[in-house]
Symmetry: C2
Subunit: 105 residues, 2 copies
């Protein structure tokens, strides 16, 4: 049992989104990504079994999918996607997301 | 790929914490629990392999463990626990948590 204050993972960079691993085990991986306004987590996918969730913990932007699809991504919104399905994020304001991947990759 | 607005899962009850399933698949389960100030998610455990995360998405309280241990649980804090390890939550203010369990139980 451990606790992490996500506030301690809050670090933005002008060079691109930052990535702080919160937890990594045999069961799942949790990563906090921090994106400054305008930064993009490019759409990508992996040919692997499993799913991921993306919870917006701060700010506003868009979840991105295949073929230029976009969905509102406001604080408190959550995206569920297969790992093999194209997914990404675009930050409108400074934005922080918590990604959980199971099984971990 | 689907999105859920956790704001739509925000429902408190005087009778006890409420439970809204956000996602349930072969890979993980996500549940939003809503606790009014003073309500308790009793300490419990399951004799199963796996881990869970508890993210505080609103409010303040305590994460609970075995033998009356307690850890600060403020908005943005996350607890990682084995499913087999005793865990619970006590709400100081109205409080909302997002629990992710992998593999799902």
């Amino acid at each position: 049992m451990k606790t992490v204050a996500l506030a301690d993972c809050r670090e933005f960079s002008d060079k691109g989104m930052t990535r702080v691993i919160v937890h990594d085990s045999a069961y799942f991986k949790c990563i906090n990504f921090n994106l400054k306004a305008g930064q993009v987590f490019p759409v990508h996918s992996h040919k692997l079994e499993g799913e991921l969730s993306i919870v917006v913990i701060e700010g506003t932007g868009e979840f991105l999918g295949d073929n230029d699809t976009a969905f509102a991504a406001n604080t408190g919104d959550i995206l569920i996607s297969e790992i093999a399905e194209p997914h990404g994020v675009r930050a409108t304001t400074d934005m922080r997301i918590l990604v959980t991947i199971a099984p971990p990759i």
